[in-house]
């Protein structure tokens, strides 16, 4: 399998002086194309910080970060924004949908913002993704009127909209009941299988982690297993 991304000796420190908190302490990690990996570790171990750095939303204090041949440490904000839009999808614990938009409008946002308008092809793909998520009857629903599980499935569809190589999911089932959580994980597994999209899922849930083919354990700012 080819390497999708690689981080080496990542350090991340928040604050300065006596208030400085070192969250990552030389973390190194490689993810291959098509992997479905769980990111495990206790609270404060650096999981969320790592996901944020991998998602190009934050830069490490030091270390290297390469993905698809791009040096993401050296890239400017504008380049990172474009890279993120094309190659990385996000699923957050609290779905974070845009409240004034419908399910479909939320899903096609990443494509619309790139193309500057909502194209017919984007709407068709968005609709198709929602059908695959089992939300064919909720396409034009205001996002605020969806249930928690439905919102999270919309968020997954949105993360997949631009066919990214990597989807980063931060506790995607943390706010769902067991049935909804399993529905979401089944969808993620299916997409990983069918489209070869790489998933890195941060979770505390051993059962969710067991559904992933690889488990990466982070502790004290380092990969420990």
């Amino acid at each position: 399998m080819s390497v999708l991304l690689e981080v080496q000796d990542l350090f991340k420190t928040f604050g300065t002086g006596e208030a400085a908190t070192r969250v990552l302490r030389g973390l190194s990690l490689t993810l291959d194309v098509g992997e479905m990996a769980a990111l495990l570790g206790p609270s404060g171990s650096g999981k969320s910080t790592l996901l944020t750095i991998l998602g190009t939303l934050m830069k490490p204090t030091s270390g290297s970060h390469n993905m698809l041949g791009h040096d993401l440490i050296a890239a400017e904000d504008r380049e990172l924004t474009e890279f993120r839009n094309r190659h990385i999808g996000f699923v957050f614990q609290f779905h974070n949908l845009l409240p004034d938009f419908t399910a479909l409008e939320n899903v096609i946002f990443p494509t619309a913002v790139r193309e500057g308008r909502e194209t017919a092809s984007a709407r068709a793909r968005g609709r198709d993704l929602l059908v695959r998520m089992g939300l064919g009857d909720r396409v034009e629903f205001p996002s605020t009127k969806l249930s928690g599980g439905q919102k999270q499935r919309v968020a997954v569809a949105r993360a997949l909209m631009n066919s990214p190589e990597l989807v980063l999911a931060d506790e995607p089932t943390g706010n769902l009941d067991r049935v909804s959580a399993m529905q979401v994980m089944d969808l993620i597994a299916q997409i990983n299988r069918d489209e070869g999209t790489t998933f890195l899922i941060s979770t505390h849930d051993e059962k969710i982690a067991s559904l992933c083919r690889r488990q990466i354990v982070v502790g004290d700012g380092l990969v420990t297993g």
């Binding site: 939303l57 474009e82 974070n96 845009l98 409240p99 004034d100 946002f109 990443p110 913002v113 500057g116």
Partner: protein, 401 residues
């Protein structure tokens, strides 16, 4: 950027009550702007119509030649002849110029005149008067004599005289009575009172008389030409430019009414400045209102902005969304305020029918387009700061909220 426009529109329509309040605030500011424009403009129009509406907007007078001075061979002045108080120079070729002047754009009426002074006598009663000889048919070209007539007619025949109500009272005159008018040249004419006017201006009603041009030629010894040409324009504000055009066209000494109305112009300018201040304050209110509302909006939407940034929306996109939101609010407030202003001004009489005791509002001077344009520009400027603040939102912190 169509998509940014869509998002901005959605934000504007998402919270209808908040948007309605904000748009109402802007509309009130625009309403004040329009109301002030109509009031200041109408007031200026009213003052001008009352002060210079009945005077010549451009006047052409023959240039007096300097009196001759005798100088001895040794350079001493032998005698000095003082210029007489009465103008004696004439525009001998006035008839040639009249069609040319009448053809100049913006000229409403032209009145060739012979002016002078004299004494009006009825029996033992005598009054000093200013005499204006005008062409029959052009009596109301400059001063609206027709409109001011309270008795008789403004039509001047060769042996008729028209005078003001005050003078008529002083001399106890009635229509059809015969009067003697002796000019400053010592020529006397016997004339019949054909009409009495009342302008409300004491000086005019008590001291100015009108006779026919033919009578004036006899009285002042002007066998041909005239002493003065008065011109009225459709737009008295165009007097300076039109006077220059006439001067260039004819070579005559055409002078705008503004040359002798510096104080009036200063007063009008001061009034206009007051209007500008008030309108500027209205605009500042709009800008502050829009800026504070958008700052609140961007603060409330920080998590959404964070999500947008995480999904690949650039800083420029975020700025565009919020600036467009500001522009939309400005446009809606501007149009509503302008419509409200127009409706509020409708009951006021038109500029041609201003009455004493009422506000001289001029609905045509509401500056509606300007108000809307300035409001939109103001709203855009007001939204730049909140938009920049929104673009600087850290996605990680915002999503965490």
């Amino acid at each position: 950027m169509l998509y940014a426009l869509k998002i901005a529109t959605r934000y504007v329509t998402a919270n209808k009550v908040q948007t309605a309040l904000l748009v109402s605030g802007v509309a009130v500011g625009v309403f004040i702007f329009i109301f002030m424009s109509a009031l200041i403009g109408g007031l200026a129009e009213f003052i001008l119509s009352r002060t210079v509406g009945d005077i010549s907007h451009i006047t052409i007078e023959a240039e007096e030649t300097d009196p001759a001075v005798l100088i001895s061979p040794s350079g001493h002045v032998l005698s000095v002849v003082e210029r007489g108080r009465t103008r004696t120079a004439t525009l001998a070729e006035a008839a040639t110029w009249l069609p040319l002047i009448e053809a100049v754009g913006g000229v409403k009426a032209v009145s060739p005149q012979i002016n002078g002074s004299g004494f009006l006598a009825r029996g033992a009663q005598i009054a000093q008067v200013s005499v204006t000889g005008v062409e029959p048919g052009r009596e109301s070209a400059i001063l609206n004599l027709d409109g001011y007539m309270i008795e008789g007619s403004a039509r001047l025949g060769s042996d008729l005289i028209i005078l003001g109500s005050k003078l008529a009272d002083e001399l106890s005159l009635k229509l059809g009575q015969t009067l003697r008018l002796e000019s400053s040249k010592g020529v006397t004419a016997v004339l019949t009172l054909g009409g009495i006017y009342h302008t409300g201006n004491g000086g005019m009603d008590g001291g100015r008389v009108f006779v026919s041009l033919t009578s004036a030629r006899t009285l002042f010894g002007v066998p041909q030409g005239v002493t003065r040409i008065e011109i009225k324009l459709f737009d008295l504000n165009a007097a300076d430019a039109t006077a220059l055009r006439i001067r260039a066209l004819t070579g005559l000494d055409a002078e705008s009414w503004t040359a002798d109305a510096a104080q009036l112009m200063e007063a009008l300018n001061a009034q206009a400045q007051t209007g500008y201040f008030l309108k500027t304050f209205a605009l500042i209110t709009i800008v502050i209102g829009v800026a504070s509302a958008l700052l609140l909006s961007t603060y409330r939407r920080r998590p959404e902005i964070g999500i947008m940034r995480a999904m690949g929306a650039g800083r420029g996109f975020v700025i565009f969304v919020f600036v467009t939101q500001g522009a939309l609010i400005g446009l809606m407030g501007g149009v509503s305020g302008a419509a409200l202003g127009y409706l509020a001004l409708l009951p006021f009489p038109s500029r041609d029918a201003f009455k004493v005791g009422t506000l001289p509002m001029d609905i045509t001077q509401g500056s509606y387009g300007l108000a809307i344009t300035l409001t939109v520009i103001g709203a855009i400027l007001a939204s730049i700061l909140p938009a920049r603040a929104a673009a600087r939102v850290d996605p990680v912190t915002a999503i965490g909220q």
